[in-house]
């Protein structure tokens, strides 16, 4: 079960990465990043559920939830990232009238 979850996670991660690298639309890139973060969460949850926490032997039952807690934080951070990203998209549209990331390349060489 652990392995299939991890492979799923890896697959989602790579799909997300592909999206982040190929989408022209800035929001598309953000979508890709969200998929990557989600993939990480799958891995975190899988580990949390199927791997023995190092502290378990000491009776720290909560240690089983560390992965889930981490995933929770990731979700929130991801949301924050998206929020800031969308703000930037709006400013970008205002200032450059584009959401095409390939056109956002004034800064180079």
């Amino acid at each position: 079960m652990l392995e299939r979850l991890l492979i799923l996670s890896a697959l989602l991660f790579c799909i997300g990465l592909y999206g982040a690298l190929t989408r022209r639309h800035v929001i598309g890139v953000l979508i890709g990043v969200e998929l990557m973060l989600n993939a990480v969460n799958v891995a975190l949850v899988a580990f949390s559920r199927y791997v023995e926490p190092a502290g378990l032997a000491l009776g720290e039952a909560d240690a089983l939830l560390e992965g889930q807690a981490f995933a929770l934080f990731v979700v929130v951070v991801a949301a924050a990232e998206v929020a800031l990203g969308l703000a930037l998209v709006l400013v970008l549209v205002r200032s450059r009238d584009t959401v095409d990331l390939t056109e956002v390349s004034l800064l180079r060489r």
Binding site: A10, I31, L64, L72, V75, V77, A78, A87
Partner: protein
């Protein structure tokens, strides 16, 4: 792990992957956002399967709900901006790297000798996944109190930043 769970898992996994693939490949950014939500929902199901029911709920509410709505709003706001084509020039290279990376990661996770959790958990641990929502709440304000507080500051900072950026300025 029984057959039913297997079937559910594969279905959800297929949903998540299909959604993700769609999200990165469909032409319309609006549809991509929707497909992302689909993928998120699949993942939420998998969370539930993996003993993270609370997280699954959060996933649906925050991601499939909040984030997706945010994205769709943004798409709406920037709709009239012209877009030439769907994907950038890096497609083949990115695909190749994605594929190789996937192979490597898959190889890594299968090769690794994970220290698996025993089937039967000792006393209090056995109920952990059942009590997860309650216990998570406790963990957040005890073990991870600092992170929790930092997260608050982070959200504040992001709000400040986003607002400072978006608000029009006379001299901008």
């Amino acid at each position: 792990m029984n057959l039913f769970q297997d079937i559910v898992f594969w279905a959800l996994a297929a949903l998540a992957v299909a959604g993700a693939l769609g999200a990165v490949s469909v032409r319309s950014i609006f549809h991509a956002g929707l497909l992302m939500v689909v993928s998120f929902l699949g993942v939420a199901g998998i969370f539930a399967l993996a003993g993270a029911a609370f997280l699954a709920v959060v996933q649906v509410l925050v991601y499939a709900g909040g984030v997706a709505v945010l994205i769709i709003f943004a798409v709406m706001l920037t709709r009239d901006v012209p877009m030439s084509s769907r994907s950038g020039p890096l497609g083949p290279a990115a695909a190749l790297i994605g594929a190789v990376l996937f192979g490597l990661l898959a190889h890594a996770v299968t090769q690794a000798q994970w220290n698996l959790l025993p089937e039967s958990l000792p006393g209090p641990a056995a109920r952990v996944f059942v009590d997860a929502p309650t216990r998570l709440g406790q963990v957040l304000v005890s073990d991870h109190l600092l992170a929790f507080e930092v997260m608050g500051v982070l959200l504040l900072a992001v709000v400040v930043g986003a607002l400072a950026l978006v608000r029009e300025r006379s001299d901008a």
